[in-house]
Symmetry: C2
Subunit: 197 residues, 2 copies
Amino acid sequence: MSTKTKNAGAPDTRARIIRAASALMQRQGYDGTGIKQIAQQAQATLGSVYHFFPGGKQELAVAAIHHGDREFAEELSAALDADDDPAAALTALCQDLAAGLAASDWPAGCPITATALGPAGRAPDIQAAAAAAFARWRALVHTKLRTAGIPDPAAHDLAHLTISTIEGAELSAQVSQSTEPLEIAGRYLAQLVRAAR
Amino acid sequence: MSTKTKNAGAPDTRARIIRAASALMQRQGYDGTGIKQIAQQAQATLGSVYHFFPGGKQELAVAAIHHGDREFAEELSAALDADDDPAAALTALCQDLAAGLAASDWPAGCPITATALGPAGRAPDIQAAAAAAFARWRALVHTKLRTAGIPDPAAHDLAHLTISTIEGAELSAQVSQSTEPLEIAGRYLAQLVRAAR
DNA sequence: GTCTATAATAGGATAGAC
DNA sequence: GTCTATCCTATTATAGAC
């Protein structure tokens, strides 16, 4: 076994820093989150942060977005795998998202939106990481829809719409401090998927 | 005529400041935008900014959100009034939004999302202003759908879905630097509205 | 790899002349 | 209402001991 493989038991400072950056930027955005705050939350020192991320805040944000990307991809995959019917799976996912948002008291929306929105114009690597995340999520839905028998022009478009709508409903729910947008989105996405067969 | 009514010809520093704050925060977010930058863009001095907004940056953000609220409400109203059929009107609106986003080179998404996302958790007045904007936009769509003959449980839900989907599609388009999410959203929203009759 | 100290700069906000 | 100067704090980032 190579020494480069991760040893899961160790304190793993680098992973703690990424998790802290991801969680804080998800709620406060890129510019609203300080590196010192990240270090404190990760129980690391400033020196350790710059040791692992010599590229500074931008490199940290890219790592945070990759982390949020994988995080939501796993949640999405689990939800899609839980039911053969994609319509039912999407409805259940929206309910789970609504419950998570309410449990966080609303600040914890999409794992990458707030991180990417502000600096996307100035930092191309941050924009690219966010675009890759959206594309991966779309691809997961696309595969599920095709497996369920929906042919390809429709499956491609529905995958796009699904990510857009879930993203927008989570944003609306967060801003309005209500689960209603996500509940409604789940119902209509199911209706559209069922109509596409 | 009262002296309190606005005299449209004057340089109107206060309005220039609000417009600058709205435009900058739309692209860079609340924390990514400095008051000095706003003053510079508005061709005003720091003293003038604090003269009109003694509450500082938070009061400025609330005014910027109100400005973006009215701005999009007018665009939405105009789009809905342009066609008797709400389905066709929504499709046209999505195409207009896509064109505007591409013309801005992608940074100019929803007028209030970036402004509200970061500080919503800490500043209740900013969150409330953003929630009011979303509610107003939903109400405009709701009225249009009811006028077009869609009964009320469906019209209410469809208004919610419309705002969520447009919001999410604009976000996806911005992040992905592509007009495709908005084009697809426009098509499916039209399909759902037509099916609701 | 970790820690502290510090440099260099930019941020929000205020004071007071005009 | 406008302008300039300034205070105070926080920020990113680096240096160098351990």
